[in-house]
Amino acid sequence: MMRVQTQRTARDVESRILLVEDDEKLGGQVVEHLRQAGFHPTWIRTGEDALVATPRDYALVVLDLMLPGVFGLDVLRHVRTISDVPVLVLSAKSDAEVKVQALQLGADDYVTKPFWPEELIARVHARLRRPGLERAEHYSHDGLEIDAAGRTVKVDNAAIEMTKVEFELLWSLASRSGQALSRAWLVSNVLDPEREGGERTLDVHVSRIRKKLGRCGERVVTVWGVGYRLDRGDAK
């Protein structure tokens, strides 16, 4: 049915997920949760069908390693020979060998059964986000703009003056926005330990940054036990 649709935009592909899962109940649940998360899953129930699927039409493949007929690793091998689409492996095996083998064959990540639906969705999101992460040169969310090349910070288009340390601190959080960085890492990688001192100095810098960012200041979040994180304003 789905194949009737011939014209596919890039956006379609971005949300299309190929699920290879033989278990009816588990497959049904996964499909349901993927739909609720805004994806368009296509569910294939056997390894044989997976071998004739076209992985390049999908943004990501969720592959159960325990399949009837063709073994899941064979499907993985096949997918890898024709495409580099991200593959998320589901496995109930406690044996490390299979997981290691799956990773060596080119799986990008695995989720061990039993898993929470949220856990799976989070890993799918993480996998889809990943490629963009490293190359980001620009943070621009909900009024806050940070440009790494120009070393400029703007809140609602108004330029904000920052010291060198403050900018580097903010940029290291912005380049991994949504992810916390530990205090120790920030101290030893962003601050000059000889000049800037330790974690107390870090807190001082952070509170100055918050103040300068004004209404966006609260996006620099203190993470209990960890350090700091810069949220995207539009994220919930």
Binding site: S94, D95, A96, E97, K99, V100, D109, Y110, V111, T112, P114, F115, W116, P117, E118, E119, A122, R123, A126, S172, R176, Q179, A180, L181, S182, A184, W185, V223, W224, G225, V226, G227, R229
Partner: protein, 501 residues
Amino acid sequence: MKLRTRLATTVLVTMALLFAGALWVRAVMERSSTERALIEYATDRMQSGGRESCEADPANFVLGTGRWRASSTGPRPWESSRAPAPERDAGADGRTADAPRPPHRHEMNFDRWPRIEVWAYSAEFASSNPLAPPFPATLRQELEDGERQATEDWVDGDRPGVQAALRMEWSDGPCAIVLARRSAPPRATSFAGPMLAFAGQCLLLVVAVVLAAGSIVRRVRKLEVQMRESAAARYAKPVDVEGADEVSELAQTFNAAAGEVRDNLESLEARERALRTFVENTTHDVMIPLTVLQGHLTALRRATEAGAPIERGVVLDSLQEAHYMASLIQNLAAAARLESGAGELAAHEIDLNALVERAVGRHRPIARARGISLDHAVPPTALASRGDVTLVEQAVSNLIHNAVRYVQPGGHVAVVLEERGPRFSLRVLDDGPGVPEELRAQVFERKFRADDARSRQPDGLGLGLSIARDVAHRHGFSLELRSPAEGGTELELSGPIAAAA
């Protein structure tokens, strides 16, 4: 074929071959001595008067012994056309009178004697004596090729013999080349004597061999019996090693192999025991949360049927029970693997960043449901270590689960992965009640057989931490429990960083 039969057969075949070889050697030597005697005879006779008589009357020259006339095996060449030449020779002049050697002994049966005849030829292989046989082609060829003498087989009717061609030391005249022939009646050799001796020797040898093999056969049989007994006793009983020969080496080899088989059996049994224990523990341990879960689900069903509002607490408890069961089964599997004593753990490169994210992700839903903030941080560049990824992940997961389980709603759990020089540091912090001073020493004690671990008392840390401790120990990692001054608990797993692949 049995050993003794094989040995006896080998002996017999060898003896027969030896016997045949001896006969052949004897025949060869006899022949060569006959040839030598013939050549010597002809040379001798020609030198002591034969030459003179030959050169005097080449047309009638012939020397010989035996009685040609008495030949019953076909006519001599001269007999067919003329009167017997030697007789005429003998009668004509006495110079060749010795040719028919005992002419006077008429009563003798000459057929039983060897006959020798010597003919003379010119250097061109032509004889002046019309009775002389044509010169044999092969011998002629050999002489022409430069040989001084040549011999070959010759058959005189039914009498086997040899003939020799000699180039005399004088190389001209009608008697430059001599053809000597000797034939003898076929020998009726009696094989009975030698055969009997041979058979006697064979018998003796076979008896000796069978007797000698007897002790070996006995020992092999005994070894066989012992091997069967050992196999029946699950290779626990070694076989006797007697002496220092191939049989004792075989016994030693068997003992070594049996030892290996026994070790394999034992390790298999250990694994089987571990598996059985695992199944039993799993069954027992999973039944409790499963029963609780069934209770919760029943309560929920009743509530929905009665149209009553669903209690959030019951749903939350159900989620926790399911989560607990999953982690319990994973821990029991890990415990079974650690306990089976499978010495070698898989050692692959572990991406610690991914591992932390997976482990945190596993507990995030339950933390969220309980209203606990669970956060983590990993270094921007991935850290790697080496080990069994499943076990290490389970250990880290246990540390997190433990924190998530004991922190009060509204509390915090943080997982921080950092690089500390050549080592990684993975800390799990919480602001829960902390571990009381007096319990700190036994937190990692293996207690999962004890009731308190199974009954999941709030203060029973149980199986998870002891597995984390074992996994750390097996990988050479350190696992420390700290109670920070500001309260809560800090667990730190630390180990070497693997060189980047």
